[in-house]
Subunit: 422 residues, 2 copies
């Protein structure tokens, strides 16, 4: 997907785009005093902001509040003008009822006071344990501390502060030049951070991502771009209907890289297309980082399905393979057990005939036209040493295709999740 027009920015993240500062502090949501647990991302000015949120009925209090604040002029869409996003880790503020909603409001007020802006310009996100009251004390201590540390160089601390069972922070950024798109001399950036480590399973832990850009984009257009980008990235790691109680992706556009008074990128223009390409690349990169850091994971798995009759069939087939515990344990065991892939395809609901299906693992054909192929088991074993495993399926039923990302299923997943709350 990468074009020559986009450049990856080394060590890029949520403060790569101009017009944003960030910080991460230990506020006290967690016991461990060395663990950052409050992240703040702040725009220099109120700026265009869009959000995509969980569809879970048990959606958390902060998600409800964010939806209300971002309710744009178009029904049900989530966009508006915002100054800041604050994220706490360690407590999800979910299943907390009216008290939880009040806590989310109060948290927004505390952060707004620390920043000197209206509370309705502050989005609040939470991730962690469900059903436990959110500590206001931690916000009272943490918000002023975080505000005082805000810096252009604070992106990494913010990315660390939103981690839960993640083993590493997830950040990336890309840039593109304005010369060929009517913004001579300008360089635009899109960058972001994400957390989400339980993405290994359909009922993963919370995913939270904050992305910023200094391209000039209007709130409604930002929302459209975000929806498209999340559909081919974060939503290819997990299903919409499989979201957790807190899943959140927020995108802010400062426009700071464009000359003052210049026109925003218009949908349909080359500038907007380039922006969307950059946004998609950032989202896909963060999504793959999440899959790779799945709880207990040792492998990133790319499941590519082509030859499907419809897009929905491609998606169902790829997801069913990607979610199959039997496929995931086989990969952990370095076992090219394509029978489990076939069984998953067969129950996916996708329309195809078994005698038309071909499957490759790491480029090694293992099943052709529904039948086993003899393959070099030693070569397959060697291929499994790679940290990224590719599964390619051709359903032989049409032209649609998609890729879904997942990881292997290991003993460590059980250890992490059998002993999380205690």
């Amino acid at each position: 997907m990468r074009t020559a027009s986009l450049s990856v920015i080394e060590d890029g993240g949520v403060t790569t785009a101009s017009g944003f500062r960030a910080s991460g502090v230990h506020a006290g949501f967690r016991m461990n005093p060395h663990r950052l647990d409050l992240a703040l991302v702040v725009a220099d000015e109120p700026c265009a902001t869009a959000g995509v949120f969980t569809q879970n009925v048990f959606c958390a209090a902060p998600v409800r509040r964010n939806r209300r604040l971002l309710e744009g002029s178009v029904q049900g869409q989530c966009f508006g003008m915002m100054r800041a996003v604050v994220v706490n880790s360690g407590n999800a503020n979910a299943a907390t009822g009216e008290a939880g909603l009040a806590a989310a409001e109060e948290a927004g007020q505390i952060v707004a006071d620390a920043l000197g802006c209206p509370p309705d310009e502050v989005l609040v996100s939470s991730t962690g344990v469900i059903g436990v009251p959110l500590s206001m004390e931690a916000f009272q201590t943490g918000a002023p501390a975080a505000a005082s540390l805000l810096a252009r160089s604070g992106g990494h601390d913010a990315a660390c502060a939103i981690m839960t069972t993640d083993t590493r922070s997830k950040e990336c950024a890309v840039s593109f030049m304005g010369d060929s798109i009517g913004y001579e001399g300008c360089t635009f950036a899109v960058g972001g951070m994400a957390k989400g480590s339980g993405m290994i399973m359909p009922d993963m832990a919370t995913m939270i991502s904050v992305i910023t850009t200094d391209a000039p984009v209007k709130p409604y257009d930002l929302r459209q771009a975000l929806k498209r980008a999340t559909d081919v990235s974060f939503n290819k790691v997990t299903v919409d209907s499989d979201t957790s109680t807190n899943d959140t992706c927020i995108l802010m556009a400062s426009g700071a890289a464009a000359p003052e008074g210049s026109q925003p990128f218009e949908p349909g223009s080359r500038a907007f297309a380039l922006f969307e390409e950059a946004l998609e690349q950032v989202c896909v990169d963060l999504a793959r980082q999440m899959a790779k850091d799945g709880e207990g994971a040792t492998k990133l798995v790319d499941v590519h399905v082509r030859g499907a009759k419809t897009d929905a069939d491609a998606d169902a087939a790829a997801r069913t393979v990607a979610n199959s515990p039997l496929v995931k344990t086989a990969i952990a065991g370095h076992d090219a057990n394509w029978g489990r892939i076939a069984a998953a395809l067969g129950r996916s609901g996708a329309e195809f005939r078994q005698e038309d299906v071909s499957i490759s693992i790491m480029g090694i054909p293992v099943c052709e036209k529904g039948l086993a192929l003899a393959f070099d088991e030693d070569a397959a074993l060697a291929a499994f040493e790679d940290a990224e495993i590719a599964i390619d399926v051709d359903l032989g039923a049409g032209e649609a295709e998609t890729t879904v990302w997942t990881c292997d299923l290991t003993h460590d997943y059980i250890t992490i999740n059998g002993d999380y709350r205690t």
Copy 2:
């Protein structure tokens, strides 16, 4: 569900009903010479037989053959008159193409020759590895041996011979008296065997069950009764659309316990109702045995959902909880983590409001009206020592309810499935 009219028969199984003999031998599908791998269940006379089979697109060759043989006079229904069922373990004869279909036919012929009956009266089932040619040699050796060992006492050997990763054989039988239903002096039995140990996950290993009865029931009525019984038993452990390539449940009715020339049980009669009750109890018992013996399982988990708006909602909610790896790992870790149950309910697609939901674990209320309840953590920990864990959910949205069975998710699941084929 048990009524005073039904008696559980200790050590009962697939040969408890009169008119049936069975055996289990080592035929050579497996390397280990001490492991039985060929089961034979034979009726003294051709008798009414019904089958329910996997919906998986990658359905195995023997399933295709059985469907063809059992195609009754009513379109798409599976019933007919049969003499025998043979089951081999160690090889699924799935994803084997035309050669696999020919192998299934040949296996039927070999067994028919050993029994002296037409091949079209012999159903063949297979379970094991996918994509490997079925050994005819093993049938040639095993079929005569199994035929020579057929006995009224052979049910347990047969039940052992169909095991794959099962840690114990699964058998049960119940009986009911004919006096109050117009069959004075008669005692009828329904009994069966099952295998299926990967039922812990939606893409489980194969489930195979053979059930017999000596009640007189016509093939079409038998099929209707079997469909109803599997819907509330085996299909509550796994979803229809989540079946493996080989899932099979066969029910044979000899009528041998009724006086010669007597009328078959008529649908709508008290006799038929009692038969259906007995069949359901056998199916539920076998289904729970399967869930309890899920790969790596230490607990049987009953997920009971009530207060759902529709039956479909109850089913979706219960299944989503039962299939949630996060819920299952929490149970393995003795953790009353109801937040994971709430998150699963929220993404199940069932219609409800979070403020109407209540959840109990082992009878201990942990969530009421969507909010956390303080509960005695020590009492909860003690309750988790039980081998059977009860999760009760009230969605507060209607009157529908259901129960789904599953098991916990442990390290042993990973060990078994990360190292199965090698």
